[in-house]
């Protein structure tokens, strides 16, 4: 048992020896050790979450040509800690007329639904919570709990604007869940497994899925951004129309939980893009396959990169209207995602036995052609609509002259 390849097993065996020397039954000791591991993993994730508060504030400041937090600690990196102390010490207000149980349960489920996801993130070949054979559907199921928390928050606040915000957000989330699940079907098909660790391991031997299905990766990223409710899909917020959406009545720590959940959710989906399409723990540093510490670095690094992409989109693209959002999903993304799934299925079945290079190049080329056809179709469609919209006015102008 090497410390660098499998530190978890080493710790497990050490603790097992310690507990059995105390006279604990092996089953009970295994449960206690797993519990310790879970608490350790979730605590590490929460520490990461605290760091994300600083990252988000610093990056948005740079996008908006500001300095961002720069007073507490070097580059303001200690800023989240005073923030947390402030949140804890704030008076917690439950508005009159709120439904107490649902009002308190909503922020707990909101952060919980994001933490649940970390049970299936493979951080290294040997460091992962659990290798579920239905990992990808588990990801979708945890998202369902998040949807539920939003509708509970909006309804229990006894505030029309919160309810409208929650409804829009939920309509957004359930709509974009379809292209997201279809995007998840593509790695399932390529790897022949639904286990997230299985997909990650499969890419060690067969190359990154990004090269086999670049459009699938893009589809997953777009629908993940929509699922997160981040700009351009932040219909729940709409400061000008519905104040701040479903969490308008929340204050203090409960608001903090929603905020922490949102940031961690964005980072977690960034990590999933890295794990599912960019080779998991063995890319970009190849030693990740054998060295557990490099592997964890790889996963977190890619999570940070895609988290940055999500922030980049958020702070440069304006919000779109709800009818545009739904039309973009149901009239464009859903048909496109199913077509992509069918095309991928056909070419994957035809090419999979032709060897590494023909297969990879073929799949990449198919995606390239598909994307090009899509863009051409969109362009001609856009031109037709523009001409239709401009036609009456030009006709009227001609008549005027």
């Amino acid at each position: 048992m090497n410390f660098w390849t499998d530190p978890i097993k080493l710790a497990f065996d050490g603790l097992m020896g310690l507990f059995s020397s105390w006279g604990m039954a092996a089953d009970a000791a295994a449960v206690v050790i797993n519990l310790l591991g879970i608490v350790g993993l979730i605590s590490a994730v929460m520490v990461l979450d605290i760091l994300l508060v600083w990252v988000e504030r610093k990056v948005v400041a740079r996008f908006q040509d500001r300095l961002g937090p720069n007073r507490v600690g070097p580059w303001g990196i200690l800023q989240p800690f005073p923030d947390i102390i402030k949140l804890i010490l704030k008076e917690d207000i439950t508005p009159a007329g709120a439904d107490k149980v649902a009002f308190n349960l909503a922020p707990i489920l909101s952060l919980g639904s994001v933490l649940f996801l970390w049970a299936v993130v493979p951080l290294a070949a040997t460091i992962y919570g659990v290798d579920l054979n239905v990992g990808l559907l588990y990801l979708v199921a945890a998202g369902a709990v998040g949807t539920l928390s939003i509708i509970m928050a909006g309804w229990s606040s006894n505030n029309k604007y919160a309810l409208v915000g929650a409804y829009r957000m939920v309509a957004n989330m359930i709509s974009y869940e379809i292209p997201m699940v279809v995007a998840l079907l593509i790695p399932t098909m390529l790897a022949g497994t639904m286990s997230i660790k299985g997909i990650s391991d499969f890419q060690l031997e067969h190359g990154l899925f990004f090269f086999l299905t670049p459009l699938g990766a893009l589809l997953f990223l777009i629908s993940a951004i929509a699922e997160l409710g981040r700009s351009p899909f932040d219909l729940n917020e709409g400061e000008s129309e519905i104040v701040a959406g479903f969490h308008i009545e929340y204050s203090g720590m409960k608001f903090g939980l929603f905020y922490a959940g949102e940031l961690l959710h964005a980072f977690t989906f960034g990590a999933f893009v890295g794990v599912l399409f960019f080779g998991g723990y063995a890319f970009p540093l190849p030693w990740g396959a054998t060295n557990a510490f490099v592997a964890v670095f790889n996963v977190l690094f890619k999570g940070m990169v895609f988290y940055w992409v999500i922030m980049w989109v958020k702070y440069t693209v304006p919000r779109i209207r709800i009818d545009h959002m739904l039309a973009f999903n149901w009239k464009f993304l859903v048909p496109v995602s199913f077509t992509l799934l069918m095309v991928t299925a056909i070419f994957h079945s035809l090419l999979k036995d032709t060897g590494f290079w023909p297969y990879t190049l073929g799949m990449f080329l198919v995606n390239l052609i598909f994307g090009w056809l899509l863009l051409e179709m969109l362009r001609s469609r856009g031109r037709a609509e523009r001409e239709q919209a401009e036609a009456p006015s030009t006709a009227a102008q001609a008549a005027h002259h």
Binding site: N133, V134, V140, A141, L148, I174, E177, G192
Partner: protein, 169 residues
Amino acid sequence: MGAQILFFLCAALILISAIMVVTVRNLIHAALWLIATLFGAALLYASLDASFIAVVQVVVYIGAIAIMFIFAVMLTRRELLIKTDQTNANWPLALGLSAVMLVALGYVIGGFGVTLNTTPAAIPAGVDPLTLLGKALLAPEAYVLPFEVASVLLLAAMVGAVYVAMNKK
């Protein structure tokens, strides 16, 4: 022993929340209790190692059907909900039918020869139930026809939804 305790905890969760669904007056609370019931069923599936059914239970029932219920409840008027009676004149009949159903189910389950000490059979090593499910669904000699018919059924549901929506306008 642990499996039995787990089963009774899940069963208690399902039954208590099911009773709450039909007794609470607030329809949103009823929907939330319904979610607890459905989650209890998912726990039962998980405790039987039926991974796929367990997550599908959460994805479809909690993620889609419960959300649809809540949307539907918000389409109704509040005054209507508070003033209506929760039972109607047919409740003795319903009670009788439920009792008959309970006895019939008890008779069927009793025929399985299952006792309280029965534990679920473990999945044999090297068998991936999900791939087997996929193969069974697609094999021409097995369930390919039901698989395609399911698609037609969903199409029918979609057509139905369109007509429901058109009547609303």
